[in-house]
């Protein structure tokens, strides 16, 4: 409570930011994190407790005992003073409510799509759209193959024209870097327009 016990910050502690890597189960999120991370992706557990969650958010949670869900993440040191963390969101449908906590303070998100089953990432797109969180869509080609052009995928996902759809290979560092750069460029462009964000005022409707 009191401010007096907050000690002086050591100068060596870096500033930190995060980007989420989202999408359906098994779409390649951890692969992508691992491709660009300077460390082997770490996995930590978050304990889930039912108390404190919105009732809405519990829809689909069959397991109401205290349990844990794994979070995979990686790190990119931007410089001595700035570190970027990449968090893979839990893919299983029943853990989506955790994304609320993860999304707080995130610069934006990459939603990964598997062209063989794009529907598994619909909910992720919906999540970020409704909350006004900037995102780009990365189409992770199976074995690096891309049968459809980005426009076809954009139409299939009913994405607005300004939403970026990028073909990528989650196993390739350069490819993943380009997807992240596209997201950052989008953030920079929206900052230049001095608007609060490209998807409205950042306060999406609550269901």
């Amino acid at each position: 409570m009191a401010d007096s016990d907050t000690a002086v910050r050591p100068p060596s502690a870096p500033d930190t930011v995060k980007i989420l890597i989202a999408g359906g189960f098994g779409v390649g999120k951890t692969t992508m994190v691992g491709s660009v991370s300077e460390i082997t992706p770490l996995s930590t557990e978050e304990a889930l407790t039912v108390a404190g969650l919105d009732v809405d958010d519990l829809a689909g949670v069959e397991e109401k005992r205290a349990t844990t869900v794994a979070l995979d993440f990686g790190r990119i040191t931007i410089g001595q003073e700035l570190v970027l963390y990449l968090f893979g969101t839990p893919g299983q449908q029943r853990f989506w409510f955790m994304w609320n906590d993860l999304a707080i303070g995130a610069l934006g998100a990459v939603v990964l799509i598997d062209v063989r089953r794009p529907e598994s990432s619909f909910a992720a797109i919906d999540f970020f759209e409704r909350r006004g969180i900037p995102f780009v869509v990365g189409v992770n080609g199976f074995h690096g193959r891309h049968p459809y052009p980005p426009e076809t995928i954009r139409d299939a996902l009913a994405l607005p024209e300004h939403a970026q759809v990028l073909l990528c290979d989650a196993r390739e560092r350069g490819s993943c870097r380009d997807v992240l750069l596209a997201l950052i460029d989008q953030l920079i462009a929206s900052a230049d327009r001095s608007g609060p964000g490209i998807f409205g005022d950042g306060r999406g409707p609550r269901s």
Partner: protein, 118 residues
């Protein structure tokens, strides 16, 4: 890291927190950076073994998520113990970069340059 299935393990580590499941303060996010105070304050009680493990890991600044992963403990358990250490004056915490409604162009440009070097 060896916790078995992604979902399903019941949470025993809360025994480390004396049964507490809620942090006493909200300073700690996944990417807050914690650093042990060096030298440690002379006053106060001796830290518990788990607290000592944390202090060893944060001799250099480390993010809460990394700390939890390295200790193989749930984030929420680590956060409760970090609250103890903060209140005992044994660690400092740095919050993440604040995000405002007007994006921080300088920071974004730094991130862009850093990614470009990958």
């Amino acid at each position: 890291m060896n916790g078995g299935d992604a979902a399903g393990r019941l949470v025993r580590p809360f025994t480390l927190t004396g049964g507490r499941t809620r942090p006493t303060r909200a300073d700690f996010t996944l990417i807050s950076t914690v650093t042990a105070v060096d030298p440690p304050p002379e006053w106060g009680s001796r830290p518990q073994p788990e607290h000592t493990r944390i202090l060893k890991r944060c001799a250099e600044p480390i993010a809460v998520a990394e700390l939890a992963a390295l200790l193989d403990l749930p984030v929420s358990v680590v956060v409760i113990m970090l609250c103890d250490l903060l209140e005992a004056g044994r660690i400092t915490v740095r919050p993440p970069h604040p995000l405002s409604r007007t994006p921080d162009l300088e920071m974004l440009q730094k991130v862009r340059d850093g990614l470009g070097r990958l």
